[in-house]
Structure formats: C-alpha cells, structure tokens
C-alpha cells in the first residue's frame, strides 16, 4: 500500500460519503415479511380453533358467524350423557395409569443418567432418543407384532412354558404399554434436566450432619428435584389425554378416548358434543402446560436437558441399589428399542399372516410395495407434501426467529414467542378437525397445498426452536462488523448470517420434513381418496395387518435413519430435542 493510493481511495470515499441512497425502512421490510405469516397462522391455526369453539357453543354444532349462538348444552352433555361421561372418565384413568408407570420407570433411569460419567450418559441418552426419530405409527405397528397372540411376547412365554397365550393386544393394557413407551423419553429428559443440576455433595453434606441415606434423599434430594418432577408429571398427563393413534391401533372396541370420540363424531358430522369435548381437552392441556412451564422454565419446549451436569462430577459407585437402577434402565431400553428391532425380520416373512418367529425369507413384500400403485402414489404424495412443508416451515421459522430476535426483551416479545409455540400445545386431534373444517370451507381439502399448510402449522415451531437457537449463537457483532465494512443489511444477511447457520438451516428442513412425512392425524382428515403414506399404513393397520406394512415400515425407518445420518454429518449438532415435541 503506498500513500498516494491511500490518499486516492480516501478522496473517492469522501466523495461517496454523505450521498445516501434512499431505501425502504427496516421496519417496513420486517412488516412485509411478517404479514403473510400472520395471515397463514390466522387461517390455518386461529380460525380452525375459533370454528371449533363456535361449534361447541351451538346446539346444532354449526359454526355460524352471522348469528353466533351461545349455548352451553354441549358442555353439560359431557357430564350428563352417560356414554360421553364414561369416555371422559376412561381417558383420564388411562392417562393416570400411563403417567404413573412412566414416572416410576423414568425416575431411576434419569437418576442413574445424572450420576454417570458424561460420556456414558450421552450414549444411553442417544439410545433413549432413537424412538423420537421413528414414526409413531411404525412403533405402534411394532407393538402389534410384539403383543399379538402369535407375537414375540407370547411366543417367548410359550417357549419358556410360562402358559398363555395371553391377550395383550387390543385392550387397555396394550394402550397403556404403548403410551408408556411413547412418553418415557420425554419424562427421562425432563427429570434428567432437573437432576443433572443437583450437586451430589449436598446429600453428602447432609450425611456428615447425621442424616441417614434415606433421610438425606427425602429431605435434601427430593425437594430439589420436585419442580422437575411435578412439571414432568403434568406434561406427561396432558400429553396422555391427547393420544389418538395409540388407543386407535392398540386399543379394543371399548377403548374409546376423547380424541377417538372426536374423530368418530366429526366423521359423521356430529360436531356439537365433539367440539365441546375438544375445547375441554384444550383447556386442560393449556393449564397443564402453563403450570409445567412455570415450574420448569421454557427448557421443556426445547426438550433439552437444562442441567449443568454438576451431578455427573461424582460418579456413582456400584452397589446393590445401583444395580436396581441399571435393571430399570435396561428394562426401559428394551421397551423402547425392542419394537424397532422386531419390524425388520417381519418384513421378510413368507406367510400372509404375521407370525413370530417369521417363517421363511422373501423379498416379495418389498417388491409388492414398490410396484403397487397404492403405495407408490402414497409415497410420492407424502414426499411432495413433506418437501413443501419443510421449505415453508423453515422459511417461516427463519423470518420469525429473525424478527423475534430483533425485538426488545419484555412482555410483547414473551407473548409473541409464546404464540409461536402454541401449535405444539394444542392437541393434534383438535387441530386436525379444526383445519379439516376450515379447509372444507376454502375448498382446499384433499389438495397437496392444503395439507402442506396444515402440516406447516405443527412443523414451523420445531424449525423455529432449531433456528432461534442457532441465530442466538451468531454474535451480533458479526453483522455489525459486516456493516462497518460496507455490506448492506441484505448482503450481510446472505453472506454472514446464513453461512453461519447453514447447518441448523438444514436441521430445520430435516425436522419439518420428517414431521410431515410421519404425520397421520391431520392427514387422516385431509385425504379421503389420495392418501399419504402414513394414512395408508394406518388404514392397513386398522383393517388387518399385512406383511407389506412391515416392508414399508422398514423402508420408512431406513429413510429416517438416512435423513438423520445425513443431518448429523452435515450439521454435526443434535436437534433431537426439538423433535421431542412432535405430535403424538
């Protein structure tokens, strides 16, 4: 650099300075980007819920905007109608059983994890998280293979001369088992988050003061873990109330729960009582979530362990009581992972009806699946919808994450962020019937676009969790540095911000893709003729299992494993947690 050059450059710079090019104000750009999102959320989230609310208040179950009625008769029926009252009671009883068993199993596992070395805990947690990545439908299918009359459990019992066959499938027991298997990872994560932050020297200190082991546990440890425990129990319970697929597939004729009731009623266009029950379910869920969040912070939504890993600093020594902890952990891993292992051999089975152990070996069912037009069109439709959902959700999440990050900390920001997470709180069955209602009015039902919009409502909050976390990790000084170097805001965004969140952007795409690819309940109402893949599987499961389902299930697991593997390689990060809140 010589000095004449410097002087020349500076003269040029002087000439440029002060001549400002007019540009649209920043606020205007933000508003222009936010408006379409607002409209989408209003149409596909707020309106459906409003519609259900209006229908619940009408004696005929019709949502009329001209002359809205205000009649609480449908709500009264929840308590006076014997059939409905029994359904509500049954739903609560099943949820209570599932919550109790889940908590009892999760507590020792979480405790063990919190006291293990970091590396070992990470490995076991990774195993516990695997089911999050596998479609709920496939996991339920696996349970039919495990619990059926000729399933794994009964075959094992027979081989060991333990009697049987036991009827383990299509009854309330099966429903509770399925629910526990679904809920365990959530509960373990929440408890682990609370427990890993508890300093183990505290109980040691109590013992030096004269407390027995039991006293130290009861007076020191339990009070510290209580907020996480109560939050977890609340969350698990409200999630249990909203289960649709598990009772629909594993339950018997008498296992009608609130969500199944809603679906059955809406299918025959009886909206009144179904809407009222739905609104009741929503109200209980919102209250439960609110208390859980208050107790345990927003970390619950991200599903990430919030602890600082303090508890792991003093690893547990082996003793008879720790052996019990290991037994509990082993049992939980079996419940979570065995179903996934069972599917694969089933898909190579030669007989028409599924038996265990599988007889013979054939690729026949794979050939069937890949040549049958029902399956191929379903796969194509699912792929297109998932792709559209992934792109739309990620775009929405990116705009929202940027806009919210630019807002000042305070009430407004808290409310907006709360609204972003709202779709995760609403029971899926309620969203499904509400969106079905609205899209029927808009003539969108049955179209790929309509399904993309509907799936986007449940996928964008997950993408938001990933992207807002990533954006928070980008030092604001990076952007400011680019500005001082002369980059426009837009250019800074594309050349500095985007490259630094690229991996998370990909993660957000994968999460929203998988969310749509696996989704059944919303799609069930959207697709009467041209079905998505999960809906096709669901229909097959309802009408009697065929080995082709096992083949397709194996293929689906393979796709998810592949997508996740690619995601891991590219992002090198873990977004499992965000998926934890996907629809039940």
């Amino acid at each position: 650099m010589n000095s004449t050059e410097i002087q020349l450059a500076r003269t040029e710079a002087r000439a440029r300075r002060g001549k400002s090019i007019p540009r649209p104000p920043l606020v205007l750009t933000r508003v222009l980007l936010a408006v379409p999102i607002f409209v989408l959320v209003a149409i596909f989230l707020a309106w459906p819920l409003l519609n259900v609310l209006l229908r619940s208040l009408s004696p005929t179950g019709v949502a009329s905007y001209g002359s809205p009625s205000f009649d609480l008769g449908n709500y009264g029926a929840i308590f006076s109608d014997t059939v409905l009252r029994n359904i509500v009671i049954h739903t609560f009883v099943v949820a209570a059983w599932a919550t109790a068993i889940t908590t009892l199993l999760a507590f020792p596992v979480a405790y063990l994890l919190s006291r293990l070395s970091r590396r070992l805990a990470t490995v076991i947690l990774a195993l516990i998280m695997i089911p999050f990545w596998i479609s709920i439908l496939i996991r339920l299918f696996a349970f039919t293979q495990l619990l059926g009359r000729e399933g794994v459990v009964n075959s094992a019992a027979e081989a060991l001369h333990l009697g049987g066959p036991y009827s383990l499938l299509f009854n309330t027991t099966a429903v509770v088992i399925g629910m526990v298997a679904y809920l365990l990872p959530y509960m373990i994560l929440i408890l682990y988050g609370g427990m890993s932050g508890i300093d183990p020297t505290l109980t040691t200190a109590a013992k030096t003061l004269g407390a027995s082991g039991r006293q130290a546990f009861r007076t020191i440890y339990m009070p510290l873990v209580r907020p996480a425990l109560i939050a977890g129990v609340l969350l698990i319970f409200v999630l249990s109330l909203g289960f649709f697929l598990t009772p629909a597939i594993l339950g018997g004729a008498t296992d009608t729960t609130i969500p199944i009731y809603i679906q059955q009623q809406v299918e025959v266009f009886q909206w009144g009582k179904a809407s009222a029950t739905g609104i009741l379910l929503l109200a209980i869920t919102v209250v439960g979530f609110a208390f859980a969040l208050r107790l345990n912070g927003t970390g619950l939504l991200g599903g990430r362990p919030t602890g600082k890993g303090m508890a792991g600093r003093e690893p547990l020594r082996f003793s008879p009581s720790t052996a019990l902890l290991w037994v509990a952990t082993g049992l939980v891993l079996v419940v979570l992972l065995l179903p996934l292992v069972v599917i694969v051999p089933t898909s190579f089975e030669t007989t028409q009806s599924l038996t265990w152990p599988p007889r013979g070996f054939t690729m026949h069912w794979y050939g069937d699946v890949l040549s049958d037009e029902i399956w191929t069109t379903a796969i194509l439709k699912s792929f297109l919808v998932a792709l559209g959902t992934a792109i739309l959700s990620t775009a929405i999440a990116l705009v929202l994450a940027r806009t919210i990050a630019a807002m000042r900390q305070g009430l407004v920001r808290a409310v907006v962020e709360g609204l972003v997470f709202a779709p995760l709180v609403v029971p899926v069955i309620l969203l499904a019937v509400g969106i079905y209602d609205v899209e029927t009015r808009l003539n969108l039902i049955g179209t790929n676009g309509g399904l993309i919009f509907a799936h986007t409502m449940i996928a964008f909050p997950l993408a938001y969790i990933v992207l807002s976390g990533a954006l928070a990790n980008v030092d604001p000084a990076l952007e400011q540095a680019a500005w001082t170097l002369g980059a426009s805001r837009a250019r800074t965004f594309w050349t500095v911000v985007i490259p630094n969140i690229l991996s998370s952007l990909f993660g957000a795409l994968v999460i929203s893709f998988v969310t749509s690819w696996d989704e059944v309940v919303i799609a069930l109402f959207q697709t009467s003729i041209q079905k998505t893949l999960p809906v096709t599987i669901f229909s097959d499961l309802k009408s009697g299992v065929q080995p082709s389902v096992a083949a397709i299930a194996t293929l689906l697991v393979a796709v998810v494993v592949l997508a996740v593997a690619v995601g891991f390689v590219i992002s090198g990060r873990r977004h499992r947690g965000a998926r934890a809140t996907a629809a039940a």
Binding site: M1, S3, E5, I6, A9, R10, A13, R14, R16, R17, G18, K19, S20, D475, A477, L478, Q480, A481, A482, W483, T484, L485, G486, A487, S488, R491, T495, V496, P499, N500, L502
Partner: protein, 369 residues
Amino acid sequence: MELAQASSPAALEARGIRHEFAGASALDDVSLRVPRGQFCTLLGPSGSGKTTLLRIFAGLLSPTAGQVLIDDTDVTDTPVQERGIGFVFQSYALFPHLSVAQNIEYPLRLRRVDKARRRRQVADMLKLIGLEGYGDRRPGELSGGQQQRVAVGRALVFEPEVLLLDEPLGALDRRLRQQLGVQLRRIQKETGTTAIYVTHDQEEAFLLSDVVVVMNEGRVRQAGTQAELYANPADLFVAGFLGDTNLLHGKVKGQARDLVTLEVCGTSVDCRSLSTFSAGAEAACSIRPEDVYALPVGSDGPRPDDWVPFGSGTVEESMFLGSRARLSLQVRGKRLLAETKSDAGVEVGTAVTVGWRRDAPVLLAHSHG
C-alpha cells in the same frame, strides 16, 4: 472539548451529542474534535459512555441529539455502511466461516475491487499485521492475539479515514496487550489513519495515545496529552482515575494569581490552579505519591531545592515495588502515599518529616466528584 485549534482539519467531530437509553441519559452533551492522523483514546470506567460514543461515531447507534462529522461532512444520518470507517470489535467479530484472507478480502469484494488488486492488498495487509502465511487459516485456528491483528487488518484494508477500536486488547493477557498495543500504534502511524480507541485501562491509554479523553457518567471530563492530564487533572475524578494520588480536602484561604492557598489539617498548602476560587469555598488538591518525600527525622535526606514541609509522621506500611518502594504515612491525622528508593532504608515505624516540591499540589474543582 478542543484537542487542537479549530482551524486544523478534523477527521472526526462530535457536536453536542446526547444519547438516551430507555429514558436514562448515556451521553450528555459530548463535543469532541479529533485531528487527522491522531491516535485518540476514550478512557473511562465501564458505564462512562465511551463505547456508546464510539458506536455513535460508527453509525451503529443513532444519537438522540447532536451531530457527527467525518471530514467536515455531516454523517449523522448516513447509514453505517456508507460512513467508510473501520471498526475493531472487542470480540473481533471475525467471520468464522471465512479464512483469514477471505475475512480481510471481504470489504474489498464489497467495493468491487478487481481480483488482482484484491489479492495484492490482502497480501500487503497480511504482511503489515505480521501474519504472512496465515491467510488460509480459519479464525478459530488462531490465537487471541493473532485474531486481534486480523480484525485490525480487516478494518484497515479498505483504507478508511477513521479507525474505531472498542477495547480490542481487553481479552488478552497483560504482556501481549503491551506488545500488540505497540504494534497497533506502528500500523496506525504507517497508514496515517485517525484512530479512536476505547479502553478502561489507563496504562494502555498512556502507552498508545496522542491524546486522551477521560469520560465519566456520559460526559467528557478532560482531554489532553497524557502528561497534561497526569500533571494537571481538572477534577477529582480525573485525578483519581489516572494513577494513584493523595487528595487533601480543605477550605480556600486566598488566591494570588494562579496560586491558591488551601487550609488543610490546620496548616496551609499552596496549590496551582487555573481557575479562580472565592475564599471560604470547599476545595481539594491532588499530590502524586512520587512527589511526596518522607525523610527520616534528623536526616537531611535527598530532597529537592523547592521543598515545602507538611508535617511529621510515621511510616505505617511499606510495599516493595522493585527499584522503588511505596510508603503509607500517617501525618496530621491523614494517610498519605509516598514513594522512595527501595534502598533508602525507610522502615515501617520510622518517624519521618513529610513534604513535597512546591509545584506538586494541584487544586481540583470540588464539585466534580
């Protein structure tokens, strides 16, 4: 606050800058002129408004009132991108997805400099900052000191008129700070850039600057060369912030031109003063420890010709500082710091006569505390 005659060209000027944040005043009527090619340090404790002022210069913040001028052009409403200033962030803000060379090249690309010239300028800059051969590394692979130099290089490569630096050495250890500070000064001189440097470290400010601007509570307290500020602090804050000092509080007895007589602890102390004080007013004077002499009673010790005695007392503590020793004295019911040669043999408990050179005490305005 004038740092030079109004006629000399100013690279950067602030006129009556005010800044309010959430109703609280962060900057209160700050005016400043920095002549071209100077290295100017904004020195102050955290919360003094120095970083806010720097961000207003850069255009990263808009002032509530007042004007910013670069090269006598009003840039108050010019967006940051068009101000043509270089900014070095405390965290360096190096782009982690770009290599060192790409980081430095970034502003040149934005300015559509052709490839050959770009390459030459980046190579020149790497040489200037002493990082030849590091161009292909990622910022994450460099040490803190190296990252700091890349940040400076990136901010200077497009030859900005003004370089703004926000505590750029704050994250480094003391030895490295001095080393890099000297290097920074060399680079600034070689490129002839005007530099505004924010720090809370008085040592750093003294080491680097042509002029130092002391700020506190959103105001400029005093501006001048290091020597001026040290010898003639304008108020209690400046006197206390720039090194250790002894403060003597008292009442003004009288004034004879630039010499004010202050009544302290039952005796009179003559102080230099540029402003006028009325008799009876509360005031304080500052005397640097190195100007205070403690002579063992009975010895005539080495003492200056213009020696003024203050009183007799005892040595309460002695702190070894290498060639010098710092003494804590008890005189006339006051604690005073003094310095002596460490081999002068003044032990704890020694009875001493305490005094100073005639021109050592400086009167401070009492109100600015």
